[in-house]
Symmetry: C2
């Protein structure tokens, strides 16, 4: 990418608060350099003019790119190979504010965006996570990266942080999509975590360097977490929660929405239970069940084994005969017949089969239960 | 009911292991007295003969009725007013072993069967309940009886017992359907509980007095728990569980199947999560949600309140302006315009509205956040 083109993208990234469909349309028509030029000169239609007026005279594109370069990052645009087209195509069907793809993405980290998006799950949830929530998150994230699924989240305290950390601990790929500039560690307490993600995974933002995250930017950012992931898993969420917002984006984008249940006595699981009751979310309890949703066709979760018992194989009448024998002591075939309501000549066969199976023993014409191991 | 008729029903109740469709058909054709007579003499077709042969010479009908009378109970038959026809009508559509209504029911307790069945929910679950499961069960049962819903269960240890106990503690109606005779306290540790249920609620069995519960009788009994209840709620159930069997009956009978979620780390909730994932069960977290399913039309659970914030009422641009003010210090309208990307003349209106709402304060031409209570 030539310096001019890159500078134009960087300028456009800041000039309007994203997402800005009018700006995207202009860029699509004119290309980034001409579009930037028109915006800078105020030569655009009224709507776009209003949206760019406050910042059109800004002149920090090169400075922004320098910050990014110093962090070892790159500006990823729709012209780049790694632009995850497929992730964003579903935005085309949405009639929802903010329901647009990003114009560009500021990226730091070794992972390629399109490869990540090809096999990723978002794990999101409340900042006020419980020990249970963090434990389940860590289990899920570890299980996902073990199966080569990237873990996408928002870098926040609580569930997000637990997800990123477990993914990193499992030598897996993790992506943080943040609501401010990639150079703004937020929350400050996650500076070290975010810098590990930058080094080993991928840190993404649609906001230029220096941008401070705000509440509306968190909500706008959530659509990218959902879009980059085949499934969004909400682990814990209160009654009012940003995670439910991400889940809403996932549903609107046709992605899988999953929720982990928890104790109904826990306020931190209220949002999950609501998603499961009313939101059409799929209940998930382990990583395999998420892989089934984001993985390659036919990658089904193995059915959990149910405990089995030698009694499982018994026929109905063997079962009734077996059940009719007392815990202590023995019964004659006649007594078994009366207890079961099965005629005595039909009790003998089952008793013999049960003896062969080692479940009952005969003792002088009377029958008793064999001692179980 | 004349003594002869009652004795005939009692005889028929024991002569074949219930449910016995051939016997039910004979009784429907010939009435109980003639049917009992034919069975006793062996004058029935081969299939029924085989099923009654082991017990047809038994002669304890009067003794059974005496036991019942001493307990203050009654034998309820399809000829009685309180026979809950509606509960059993769905059995007509099932092609499933044991999928038949009971021939008669041995009943002890002041509650009328049809009135109970009109507004009842089953609460069932594992005997190996956790403290969480027992707590949730008690909450649910108390909430149900407070809303005049009877609590049906199986009298077992664990979830069943917690449900009965909480219903009794709330001065509510509770029904135990047991898998042995009404005079056989099982489990023995629940003798006192079962006797309280007999005194204040209803103890039911399709087995004559003295019958010992067996594993197959538990499974057969489960269909009656489901049939008598508008909804079956599974609170905790392991991977292999009788509660799932009851839920299966409820589903087959067109009743509502509900499950309470729990920690995914708890083996005692595995069965519930499986019902929610694969079994089409409705997730429930509180009694109101169950009442909604068994109650009168329109008896909807009140929506839980979500916490609200004065910020909820803000418009999109007020929100963005509010978010652009720093936690400490103040910003000019120009700075707010740049931070938000909103033109400065469109920033002034939202700032004024926010000031009116008491959310921001002006200080010498600069704006800052008002201190929140």
């Amino acid at each position: 990418m030539s310096t001019d083109v890159e500078r134009a993208w960087a300028y456009l990234s800041r000039v309007a608060e994203p997402p800005c469909p009018e700006l995207a349309a202009l860029v699509a028509d004119e290309g980034p350099v001409a579009a930037a030029d028109k915006v800078r000169r105020g030569g655009v239609d009224e709507a776009l003019k209003r949206k760019t007026e406050a910042r059109r005279e800004n002149n920090c594109a090169q400075a922004d790119l320098d910050v990014l370069a110093r962090m070892g990052g790159r500006l990823v645009t729709p012209c780049d190979d790694e632009w995850p087209w497929l992730s964003f195509v579903a935005f085309g069907n949405l009639a929802r504010p903010q329901g647009y793809p990003p114009l560009v993405l500021w990226a730091v980290g070794p992972a390629r965006m399109d490869e990540v998006a090809d096999r990723a799950a978002a794990i999101v949830g409340t900042r006020a996570a419980t020990a249970y929530g963090e434990h389940v998150t860590a289990d899920l994230a570890a299980g996902l990266v073990m199966r080569d699924v990237a873990v996408v989240s928002g870098g926040a305290f609580g569930i997000d942080g637990a997800a990123h950390r477990a993914a990193l601990a499992g030598d897996g790929l993790t992506v943080a999509v943040v609501a401010g500039g990639v150079d703004v560690p937020y929350p400050a307490g996650h500076a070290a975590l975010l810098s590990r993600i930058r080094r080993d995974g991928l840190l993404l933002s649609e906001y230029p360097p220096g941008t401070r995250p705000t509440r509306s930017r968190f909500l706008t950012r959530n659509r990218l977490v959902a879009a980059l992931s085949g499934a969004t898993v909400v682990v814990e969420a209160g009654a009012r929660s940003g995670a439910a917002n991400t889940a809403g984006w996932a549903a609107d984008l046709g992605r899988n929405v999953c929720a982990v249940p928890g104790p109904v006595t826990s306020g931190a699981s209220v949002g999950c239970h609501r998603l499961l009751r009313d939101g059409g979310a799929t209940l998930v309890t382990r990583a395999e069940e998420v892989v089934e949703l984001v993985g390659r066709m036919g990658e089904l979760a193995p059915v959990e084994e149910r405990p089995t018992s030698p009694l499982d194989a018994l026929t109905e009448s063997e079962r009734r005969v077996y059940d009719a024998l007392p815990k202590r002591g023995a019964r004659s075939a006649d007594e078994v017949a009366f207890a079961t309501g099965i005629p005595v000549y039909q009790v003998v066969g089952p008793l013999a089969m049960l003896e062969v199976a080692g479940l009952v023993v005969q003792d002088g014409g009377r029958w008793k239960l064999a001692r179980r191991r």
